[in-house]
């Protein structure tokens, strides 16, 4: 690893110098209200014509102090709040939080609960990737894929709705297991969806994968080398597209992932096109996981016996899961009371967005959009 030596040459993101402008240079404020910054991200771009000379992400417009709120809520009370961070992948957030608290308690969810959690989390991963695919394509100017991907996402949301009554911020899990049993046709719905999905993904790929313009717009854009990615703490599909085969579901399995066969798709170039391919491949893998899991959901209870009042013994724990966007970690410190002393969320988008500065150097304005899209950020999570 030579990241340290390179670090100096990185040009670590400083604020964009707006005082001294070169010839033909302008400062362009992208956001916080802009169609393709996926929420309220603001990017200050220093442009030479259409080329980006320097960039700075300005975040915090969606800061709600989630970590502070946690210190004034009991452990179960805080669970719904985590859904509001990465609001397009609420189930994954909930999974990470519940498992972290369980770890803190020294408890563990029963097998049935863990399998159901796995199914829902993987469906959520597919849903999150579908949403990403649609919006990313829309950013690059393909108007149609978003409607197809939304159609499939709708199916997933319907399953969530049937399961727990909510579609977006689901609060599907409870600390210690699940609150709800699966509904009657759960397996049938999930299976039917997964069977249809393969052909649908092929459909998206026909629209995009070999489309000359799509390849031209994404290949070689926003390149992030593996060393840079690791040094920047980038995780998830972005890291895997840079050639690092690392997935927490394999590396440090949680929920029921160790029971299932699946592959961790990687690519080598670390550009936007590879990130696209990795996510598409991930959707296919998630589909396989769901199919394996739904085939045999073990019988048994869905809640562990953890008592009504949760008072974890003093101490601390860091637990992380592979969210749709990367490593989603919870660092929870307990002081033995019913309220967490400190909850730190390690949001994947926050760290991935940090790499934007690196990716955007020398890119064009149009590439900026493609790069933001390919990182797949959710500002609710970045700002918390």
């Amino acid at each position: 690893m030579s990241a340290g030596n390179e670090a100096a040459g990185f040009g670590t993101a400083r604020g964009v110098d707006t005082t001294v402008l070169g010839e033909n240079e302008i400062i362009l404020n992208m956001g916080p209200q802009h169609p393709s910054t996926h929420g309220v991200l603001r990017i200050k771009l220093r442009l030479d014509g259409e080329r980006v000379v320097d960039s700075e992400c300005i975040i915090g417009y969606l800061h709600r102090g989630v970590e502070k709120i946690a210190e004034h809520r009991s452990y179960p009370q805080f669970a719904p709040y985590v859904d509001r961070m990465d609001y397009v992948a609420a189930v994954s957030n909930g999974l990470g939080y519940c498992e972290a608290v369980e770890k803190l308690l020294g408890a563990e969810a029963p097998p049935r609960a863990r399998v159901v959690r796995t199914i829902l989390a993987e469906l959520q991963r597919i849903a999150s990737h579908l949403l990403w695919l649609g919006t990313h394509a829309l950013d690059i100017g393909a108007l149609t894929p978003i409607f197809y991907s939304m159609r499939e996402r709708e199916e997933i949301l319907k399953i969530f709705e049937k399961y727990c009554g909510a579609r977006l911020t689901t609060h599907a899990f409870r600390i210690g297991g699940l609150q709800y049993e699966t509904y009657d046709t759960f397996e049938y719905d999930v299976k039917r969806f997964c069977e249809a999905l393969a052909a649908r993904i092929d459909e998206y790929e026909t629209l995009l994968t070999e489309n000359r313009i799509w390849v031209g717009r994404t290949k070689g854009v926003g390149v992030l080398s593996a060393d840079d990615a690791i040094a920047l703490g980038v995780t998830g599909p972005v890291l895997r597209a840079s050639g690092v085969q690392w997935d927490l579901r394999k590396a440090q399995p949680y929920a029921a992932y160790e029971q299932y066969q699946f592959e961790v798709p990687t690519r080598e170039n670390g550009d936007a096109y590879d990130r696209y391919l990795v996510r598409i491949a991930e959707m296919r893998q998630s589909r396989l996981i769901v199919l394996q899991a739904v085939e045999q959901i073990p019988e048994g209870p869905i809640m562990a016996r953890i008592g009504k009042v949760l008072k974890p013994p003093p101490g601390e724990v860091y637990h992380s899961i592979e969210g749709p966007k990367g490593e989603l970690g919870y660092y929870i410190v307990s002081d033995g009371t019913i309220q967490p002393y400190r909850v730190r969320v390690r949001p994947p988008s926050f760290f991935n967005l940090q790499a934007f500065h690196r990716m955007a150097r020398g890119a064009m304005v149009a590439d900026v959009v493609a790069i933001i899209g390919s990182i797949d950020i959710v500002l609710g999570e970045v700002d918390r």
Binding site: M1, A3, G4, A7, A8, T12, A13, R14, G15, I59, G60, H63, K68, E99, L104, G106, A107, E108, A109, P110, P111, R112, G176, A226, D228, I230, A231, L232, G233, V234, G243, V244, W246, K250, A251, Q252, P253, Y254, V264, P298, E299, G300, P301, R305, P313, P314, G315, E316, V317, Y318, G329, Y331, V333, Y341, R342, R344, R346, F350, F351, R384
Partner: protein, 234 residues
């Protein structure tokens, strides 16, 4: 060490640097080819067999002694102690996760050693915890991860209010934003940081919200009035 249900069986977290079990991946020099589960599960074949027995369907595992921090020692810790001496403080293991207390002033060298020699290539997170009653009030926490060894390590330093902590941005560029966040929300100053400004809150905001003595009554109503044009509800 506390024995619990199967899910926490993942090997990496419980033995940072534990050489007693030959780790299949420790010999791998190429970081990029991270060994996947097949290799990792291998040394655990025996433990795997015991798993179903412990995972009794229908009942949660009987709660044994509550998890609590315990002192910990292994070769990694010894190597670190040998190299940095007093800068390495107490080493504990809490819920199978190793915590190394370090001296804040030496953290950059320790981080560099961890990255280059101990192969903790990735800085997962930098954060802080506020303990207002302690003299050295803040815990700064660095969460490290080794792709090569699939292990985690947590460095922790106690610092007083106003003390500066060396920035690790020269070791991991990715420390930039999380350190800014710590500065923003806790008011901890990282020395050597290229661009230490507020990140989540507005530039002119007064106070550091994640400190324990900060609450909604203390929020910067002045700023809210001036910039948002509304009276704060409190």
């Amino acid at each position: 060490m506390v024995k619990r249900g199967g899910n926490d069986e993942d090997p990496p977290e419980k033995r940072p640097g534990d050489e007693s079990v030959p780790d299949a991946s420790s010999g791998a020099s190429n970081v990029l080819q991270f060994p996947t589960s097949l290799k990792k599960v291998e040394p655990e074949a025996a433990a795997e067999a015991a798993k179903p027995a412990r995972r009794v369907p229908g009942s949660a595992p009987a709660r044994e002694a509550p998890p609590a921090p315990a002192p910990f020692d292994n070769e990694l810790v010894q190597r670190l102690r040998a190299r940095f001496g007093d800068a390495i403080g107490e080493v504990t293991i809490d819920r199978k996760q190793v915590i190394v207390i370090v001296d804040a002033s030496h953290v950059r060298e320790i981080a560099l050693a961890c990255r280059d020699d101990e192969k903790f290539e990735m800085l997962v997170d930098v954060t802080a915890v506020d303990w207002p009653r302690r003299e050295r009030r803040f815990d700064i926490v660095w969460n490290l991860y080794s792709l090569t060894k699939n292990e985690r390590l947590r460095l922790k330093a106690h610092v007083t209010v106003g003390a500066t902590v060396p920035s690790v941005t020269s070791v991991w560029v990715g420390a930039n934003w999380p350190e800014r966040e710590c500065f923003d929300l806790f008011g901890i100053v990282f020395e050597g940081h290229p661009d230490l400004r507020r990140i989540l809150l507005p530039e002119e905001w007064q106070g550091h919200p994640l400190r324990k003595d900060y609450d909604i009554l203390k929020q910067d109503t002045e700023w809210v009035r001036e910039h948002l044009g509304i009276e704060s509800g409190q």
